[in-house]
């Protein structure tokens, strides 16, 4: 165990795999049990988004909206106006994809602490194809004043993030994934909204990752260590507000940055870090993510491979960047 209380052997073949959305479902149930103000609404995807646990425990505080995402978030605004803590969920492609203006006007400008839950984000949604693989949600939510944007790295962190969202007085967006991914943090691993965490300390290069890609970055760092490269991995579960201090502290030492995310690199985490560094500490940077294109049908591993979103691709990108400066 290191000071982040991560699993010691993250590449063990028997590592527990669980969809990030499951952690959200548990977190919502926990906070719903503890706080009567917590309510939930869903747009006809209650099981998929894992709201069903809450619904079963607290049916009187659950609202089925039907397939109507504009209504979903705006009803959320009305619930929050009456002092409720509303969690509203759908697939990220539809919410925030379908209802951005309602989120802007009735939640952000209106300053109502609605908790937006976008599940099935990224290409790892797989066979459903490009229509359902949301890649632009981080960019869409990040530009809205007042909005907090979260992308937890595994199901345990999603559980902690959900509990933290209920206590946060701002509008929040949390990005969840469909597929089972390794659970590599533990109950003791810290999580706080607005904080990024150095999961692997290093000196040669900074890899900043979010959501499902942090695990891939961690695996890449292990491979790189064997290659003689000392890479620092920063896990950035809060994309907004960005933890500038942690990122700058690292980049000032390494002078090189690679960002990794399962979404459009433009406007996403890559965009956020690029803006920060352009303002405060221009550094050599490379953004791994979707490069201005849509996904397609396939199994998740095929797609992650095709779009360059694996530990191997991160490893190669690090070598390429280090090679440049030789």
């Amino acid at each position: 165990m290191n000071n982040m209380h991560l699993l010691t052997d993250i590449t063990a073949t028997d590592i527990v795999q669980e969809p990030i959305r499951k952690g959200f479902g548990r977190g919502l149930k926990t906070i719903g049990d503890a706080n009567e103000a917590v309510v939930a609404a869903c747009a006809d995807l209650t099981d998929s988004t894992q709201m069903s646990l809450f619904k079963e425990a607290h049916p009187e505080r659950f609202i089925e909206i039907g397939v109507a995402e504009q209504n979903l978030v705006t009803v959320g605004s009305g619930l929050a106006a009456m002092g409720k803590i509303p969690f509203v969920s759908s697939y990220a492609a539809f919410m925030p994809g379908r209802c951005w203006e309602q989120i802007r006007t009735t939640i952000c400008l209106n300053d109502r602490p609605v908790k937006l839950v976008g599940s099935h984000a990224g290409v790892s949604v797989g066979p459903d194809g490009a229509t359902h693989q949301m890649l632009e949600d981080i960019a869409l939510m990040r530009v809205l004043p007042n909005m907090v944007v979260l992308a937890p790295g595994d199901s345990l962190e999603a559980e902690k993030a959900t509990v933290a969202m209920a206590a946060d007085r701002r509008p929040n967006y949390i990005r969840l994934a469909r597929e089972a991914t390794p659970v590599f943090t533990t109950a003791e691993t810290p999580f706080e909204i607005g904080k990024a965490y150095v999961y692997t300390p290093g000196e040669d290069i900074t890899i900043i990752a979010t959501g499902t890609m942090t695990y891939q970055a961690m695996v890449a760092a292990e491979k790189l260590y064997k290659d003689g490269v000392d890479a620092e991995v920063i896990h950035c579960p809060t994309i907004k507000p960005l933890d500038a201090e942690t990122i700058l502290h690292s980049v000032r030492r390494t002078k090189r940055v690679i960002t990794v995310e399962e979404g459009q690199a433009a406007g996403g985490l890559g965009g956020a870090v690029a803006e920060l560094l352009a303002d405060k500490f221009p550094a050599r940077m490379h953004r791994i993510g979707m490069q201005d294109r849509f996904g397609e049908s396939g199994n998740p591993n095929e797609l992650l491979e095709k779009f360059g979103l694996t530990a191997k691709h991160i490893q190669l990108a690090v070598h390429a960047m280090l090679e440049e400066s030789k």
Partner: protein
């Protein structure tokens, strides 16, 4: 709590509010004329007879809720709020100006007493649904009322019908929605731009109890609200037929006044008309 006015006093109040609307818009140099004038009788009825609230304690937990979903008509709400004592009437002249709490479209976080931020159309009814569902969870459903004023052109928005369906499903009977049926929108008459009729049948098909009223008759607005409160298992839609630009003859029925303010000359003429009730009486201040 605000004092409930008699019918005579309400009619005078509506006229005073119309005068303020003309002055505000002329001073601002931009904004919407026809809608606010047409809505003056409805908003006067709500603020000075129908609703329970306390202008000195805008967050009073038992208050009724007023949502203006068609935020471009907010001058009529600002004027009513000033007359009700939420803030000084002098502040009305700051409408749309830099640093004003009276933003061009209503912003809740700027002005105490506003319940929502609106302007982009089609959201008020959804917010009302959220509020009504929260009130049901808190067991105050039959004690607090939510009044939502909507435009007719606004009902081109799909979001409106998503909310209509939800309110029907959950039988949110403490929502009293009021459609300002003035038949105009920015590009022209509603029935040319995007026909809404049969509007009554549409709302009924979505599970609403619908009452059609003369929205420029304060007594009929008050009566319809009383009737609406007696309906226990459905949300209620009042389709309020109004005259856009009501009270100022050269603005009445003319869709070109939807989105513009009067200039000095026009304002003077409008104020004269309002003070003399269209030439029927001699104005007090003439």
């Amino acid at each position: 709590m605000v004092t409930k006015l008699s019918l005579d006093a309400l009619e005078k109040k509506a006229n005073d509010i119309r005068e303020d609307i003309i002055r505000m818009l002329e001073e601002a140099g931009s904004g919407h004329s026809a809608g606010p004038l047409g809505l003056a009788d409805i908003v006067t009825a709500l603020y000075f007879n129908v609703m329970d609230y306390d202008p000195k304690n805008p967050d009073w937990p038992e208050r009724d809720i007023f949502l203006m979903s068609n935020g471009h008509c907010v001058p009529v709400q600002y004027a009513a709020m000033a007359h009700a004592g939420f803030f000084d009437r002098k502040e009305l002249m700051t409408l749309r100006k830099y640093g004003s709490r009276l933003q061009g479209h209503p912003e809740r976080t700027k002005l105490s007493g506003l319940e929502n931020t609106s302007g982009p159309l089609g959201c008020g009814l959804s917010q009302a649904c959220g509020m009504a569902l929260a009130m049901r969870m808190d067991h105050v459903e039959r004690k607090r009322w939510i009044y939502v004023v909507m435009g007719d052109g606004e009902q081109d928005e799909g979001n409106v019908w998503e909310a209509a369906m939800l309110a029907g499903k959950y039988k949110l009977s403490n929502i009293i929605a009021i459609t300002d049926r003035n038949n105009i929108q920015i590009d022209g008459p509603t029935e040319e731009i995007m026909p809404l009729e049969d509007l009554k049948a549409k709302w009924e098909a979505f599970g609403w109890h619908v009452i059609e009223i003369d929205g420029n008759n304060i007594e009929s607005v008050i009566d319809a609200c009383s009737m609406a409160k007696a309906i226990e298992n459905k949300p209620v839609m009042l389709i309020a037929h109004t005259v856009p630009g009501k009270g100022v003859e050269f603005m009445e029925y003319d869709f070109t006044w939807h989105g513009k303010p009067p200039n000095r000359e026009e304002a003077k003429k409008a104020l004269h008309e309002l003070r003399t009730l269209g030439g029927k009486i001699r104005g007090e201040h003439e």
